[in-house]
Amino acid sequence: MRLSDLRGMPPTAAFGLGMIMFFAVVAVFAGQIAPHGQTEIVGMEFEPRGGDFVLGTDNLGRDMLSRLVWGARNSIGIALATTALAFTAGALLGLLAAVLGGWTDQLLSRFVDLLISIPSLLFALLLLSIFGTSIAALVLVIAVLEMTRVFRLSRAVAMNVVVMEFVEVARLRGEGLGWLIGREILPNVTAPLVAEFGLRFCFVFLAISALSFLGLGIQPPTADWGSMVRENAALITFGDITPLLPAGAIALLTVSINFVVDWMLHRASGLQD
C-alpha cells in the first residue's frame, strides 16, 4: 500500500482511520492525558457529569474520564496482544496445513473443528474458571479460541495459491517449507489476512469485554471498558447514561475498524466502484 492510495479513500474509511488513530494516541499517552489515576478515589460515588468531573464519578468515586482513558490502554492493549498471538499461530498453522496437506492437514483441521464445535463463550468461561483469571490466562484462552477462525481462513486462501503452478515450480526446484510459505504463498494472501486481522481484533475485543462484564475478564481495580459497564450498570435504572459511555467507546472502535476493513477488502478484491 502506498500513500497515494489513501487519497481515493471513501469518507467512511477516513472516519474509521481517524478514530483508530485517536484511540491509539489515547491508549499510548494515557498517563499524560488522564487527569487522575485509574484506581484513585477522587470524590463521592456517582457524582453527576459536569462540575469537577467532566464525566462524573463511578460507583467507588473514581473519575469516569480517567478510567475511560486508562481503559483504552488496558482493553486495546490486551486485545491487540491476544489478536497478534491468535493471528501468528492461526496463520502459521493454516499455511502449514495447506502446504503439507495429507496427515498434517487432517490432524490440524480436525483439532480445530473440535475446538470450534464447543460454544466459545462457554468454553472460555470454563477454561478461565479452571486456570484462574490472570491476564496471561485470559490472553491465552481467547487467543486459542480465536486462532481456530484464523486457521480456517488462512488455510482456505492458501489452498487457492498452493495449487498454482508457480508453487509447483518452487517445489520442483527443491525449495524448503520456509521459502514456500514465506516467499511464494504469503505475499499472495496478505490482503485477506490483513483484513481478517482487523475483523478478528473486533471479535477479540468484544470477547474480552463480554468476559469482563461477566467478571471473568480483566479484574478490578484495573480499568477496562467491559467491567466499567458492569460496575455502573445500576445507574441505568435511574435514567443515567454513564454506563453507556464505555459501551459507546467499544462500539465506536469496532465500527471504525470495520469501516477500514471493508475498504481494504474492497480494494483487495479489485472491484471497480
Binding site: M164, F166, R171, L172, R173, G174, P187, Q272
Partner: protein, 540 residues
C-alpha cells in the same frame, strides 16, 4: 438483393483501464445475410469476442459502445431497451460460448437447461413440446442416446458432448443468428472434428445465419462462407473463404497463413549404444491404488534432441511429466538421468539432480508468482542452484533476458502482470535455463498462445537447443507443433504408449489406428477437408 439480417457500421467499443478508456474496436463494419456463415479470425485481443457480443447488442462489464450502428433485421439494437433486447436474445440471436463446462449450471440436468429459453423465458413452447424438440436436436447434433442424454447432469457427459448440448440450446428457439465463440478451442482434435461436423450440418439444415469466432484458420475454413480478419480492433480484410485461402491480400493475413510452415533443423538419430539424458523404463503410476493412469511407459530422450509426446487429454502425457519430475512417484519402473536411476520421490532427490530437469508449464499466467519481479523470478534459481549473488547474479539475469530476446533494462524490474502472454512464456523459459539443465520438459507451452507468438516461442526453443545442446520432452496435442520441432514422436492413449519412432516414420504410413485417427483429425487449410475426411472414415 435481400435485406441483410445484421448490419454493423463503423462500430467502436472502448474498455476501461483505471480511469481512462482504451479502444477495443475501432470502426468495424460487418454485414451478414440470412443463412450465411461469417468467420471472424484474429489473435487474442483483436476484438473478435467483443464484436460477436456486440452483434447481440451486448457489451461486457467495463466496456462501452463509443460509436457506430448495430442493426438487426431493421431494428437498431443500440436504441432498444433492456426488455426488448432480452426478448431478442436466446430467441432470435443465440450465443455458444467457448467453455461449455463453465457455462452449464452443474446442478441442473441438460434438458432442464434446454427448456429454460423456449418455455420459461420466451413462452414459445409447452414443456413436452420443447423436450421433444430437444431430443430431435440432440439426434441431429449426433449426440449418443439422444432420448436419454438430456436427463444427465453436465458432469456426466464429455466436453465435446456438452459443447453440442450447448449448441442445441442455442438452436432451441430457431434463432435467425447464432454466434459461436471458439466452440471447439478447448476440445481435443479427435473430438473437435465431431463437433465441427455436427455444428456445420445443423446450421445448414436449419438455415440460420452464424458468426463463427476462432483463432484457428483451418477450422474457420471448414465452417464459414466468408472470412473477416481482425487485428487490434480493426478489420484487415474480408473475402469469401476460398478466395481468402487461395490469395490473402494483406501482409498480416499472409503471415497468419504461413505460420505453420516453421521447421526446426533435422537431427541425426542418436547412435544405438548412446546413454540418453532421460530414460523412462517400464513406468507404471496411479493416483488411487488399482487404477493405473500410466502403464508400462518407456521412452528415451537424447541430448540435443526433441521428443514429442502426443495424445488427447487424459492420455497420460502430463502424468508422465509428473512422474519424471517426482511429483507423482511411480509404482514400478525406473527413471534414469544420464544412466543413473533417480529416486521416485521428489523429496529424496538431491538439488544437483533436480537442476538437470527443468519444466516449462502450459499456462505462464499461473506459473509465475504475481508478487515477484522478473529479477526475483530469475534470480532465485541462480542463487539456489549456482550460489550466485550480487553483481554476478544481476549480470546473469541480464544475460538470460537477452537470451530470450527481451530488453533487460526494460523488463528486469517488471512484475508478471506487466507482460503479455508470449513474454510470460519467455520468462518461464528463462527460469528453466537459469538452472543450466540438460533436459527441459515443455508441457503444452504453446497451446495457450496465438499462432504467431507460438511460432516465436518454438523458434526460440529451437535456437536455444542448438546453442546449448538441450534435450526437450515436448508434451503437446498439436500435431502441427510436432511436425515443426520433433525428432522422435511418442503417441500415448489411455496411459499407454501405442506407437513411437522417428518423426519421419510416424508421419508416414502405415500407422497405428490411433495415430491415424489423430493425424486425420487435424484440420487442413482446405474448405473441403471436413467433407473429405468424413467420407473417407465412412468408407473404411
Amino acid at each position: 438483393m435481400t435485406e441483410p439480417l445484421l448490419t454493423i457500421r463503423d462500430l467502436s467499443i472502448e474498455g476501461r483501464q483505471g480511469r481512462a478508456w482504451q479502444p477495443i474496436l475501432r470502426g468495424v463494419d460487418l454485414e451478414l445475410r440470412r443463412g450465411e456463415v461469417l468467420g471472424l479470425i484474429g489473435e487474442s485481443g483483436a476484438g473478435k469476442s467483443t464484436l460477436g457480443l456486440a452483434a447481440m447488442g451486448y457489451t461486457r462489464d467495463g466496456t462501452r459502445i463509443a460509436g457506430g450502428e448495430i442493426t438487426f433485421d431493421g431494428m437498431d439494437l443500440r436504441a432498444l431497451g433492456a426488455r426488448r433486447l432480452r426478448g431478442l436474445r436466446g430467441r432470435r440471436i443465440a450465443y455458444v460460448a467457448q467453455s461449455a463446462a463453465a457455462n452449464f449450471n452443474p446442478s441442473q440436468r441438460l434438458i432442464d437447461q434446454y427448456t429454460e429459453a423456449p418455455v420459461d423465458i420466451h413462452q414459445l413452447r409447452t414443456r413436452p413440446e420443447a423436450a421433444r424438440e430437444a431430443r430431435e436436436l440432440y439426434a441431429r447434433l449426433r449426440l449418443p442416446e439422444p432420448d436419454v442424454i438430456g436427463f444427465r447432469y453436465p458432469h456426466q457427459v464429455s466436453g465435446g458432448q456438452l459443447q453440442r448440448a450447448m449448441t442445441a440450446m442455442a438452436m432451441s428457439c430457431e434463432p435467425d443468428l447464432i454466434i459461436f465463440d471458439e466452440p471447439t478451442t478447448a476440445l481435443d482434435v479427435t473430438t473437435q472434428i465431431e463437433v465441427l461436423r455436427a455444428i456445420r450440418d445443423a446450421v445448414r439444415e436449419i438455415g440460420t445465419a452464424a458468426i463463427y469466432i476462432t483463432h484457428d484458420l483451418a477450422v474457420v475454413a471448414q465452417m464459414a462462407d466468408r472470412i473477416k480478419v481482425l487485428l487490434r480492433g480493426e478489420e484487415v480484410e474480408e473475402q469469401p473463404t476460398r478466395a481468402m485461402l487461395a490469395a490473402p491480400r494483406e501482409a498480416y493475413s499472409r503471415s497468419l497463413w504461413a505460420v505453420r510452415s516453421f521447421r526446426a533443423p533435422e537431427h541425426s538419430v542418436p547412435p544405438a549404444g548412446a546413454t540418453p539424458v532421460l530414460r523412462v523404463a517400464g513406468v507404471t503410476a496411479e493416483y488411487s491404488p488399482g487404477t493405473p493412469v500410466l502403464q508400462d511407459v518407456s521412452f528415451d530422450v537424447h541430448s540435443g534432441r526433441t521428443v514429442a509426446v502426443v495424445g488427447e487429454s487424459g492420455s497420460g502425457k502430463s502424468t508422465a511429466a509428473r512422474v519424471i519430475t517426482g511429483l507423482l512417484p511411480a509404482v514400478s519402473g525406473r527413471i534414469e538421468l544420464d544412466g543413473t536411476p533417480l529416486p521416485p520421490r521428489l523429496a529424496r532427490r538431491d538439488p544437483a539432480a533436480l537442476r538437470q530437469v527443468q519444466m516449462i508449464h502450459q499456462s505462464a499466467d499461473t506459473a509465475l508468482n504475481p508478487k515477484h519481479t522478473i529479477r526475483e523470478i530469475l534470480g532465485r534459481p541462480l542463487r539456489f542452484y549456482l550460489g550466485l549473488r550480487g553483481p554476478a547474479r544481476e549480470a546473469r539475469i541480464r544475460e538470460l533476458l537477452a537470451d530470450i530476446e527481451l530488453d533487460p533494462d526494460d523488463f528486469i524490474g517488471r512484475t508478471p502482470a506487466a507482460l503479455s502472454g508470449g513474454q510470460k512464456q519467455r520468462i518461464g523459459i528463462a527460469r528453466a535455463l537459469a538452472a543450466e539443465p540438460r533436459l527441459i520438459i515443455c508441457d503444452e507451452v504453446t497451446s495457450a498462445l496465438d499462432q504467431l507468438v507460438a511460432e516465436g516461442i518454438l523458434k526460440l526453443l529451437t535456437r536455444l537447443q542448438e546453442v546449448r545442446g538441450l534435450a526437450y520432452m515436448f508434451i503437446t496435442h498439436d500435431l502441427a507443433t510436432v511436425r515443426a520441432i520433433a525428432d522422435h514422436v511418442v503417441v500415448m492413449q489411455h496411459g499407454r504408449v501405442v506407437e513411437q519412432g522417428p518423426k519421419d516414420e510416424m508421419f508416414r504410413p502405415p500407422h497405428h489406428p490411433y495415430t491415424r485417427l489423430l493425424l486425420t483429425s487435424v484440420p487442413d487449410m482446405d474448405p473441403d477437408w471436413l467433407d473429405r475426411t468424413i467420407a473417407e472414415r465412412q468408407e473404411s
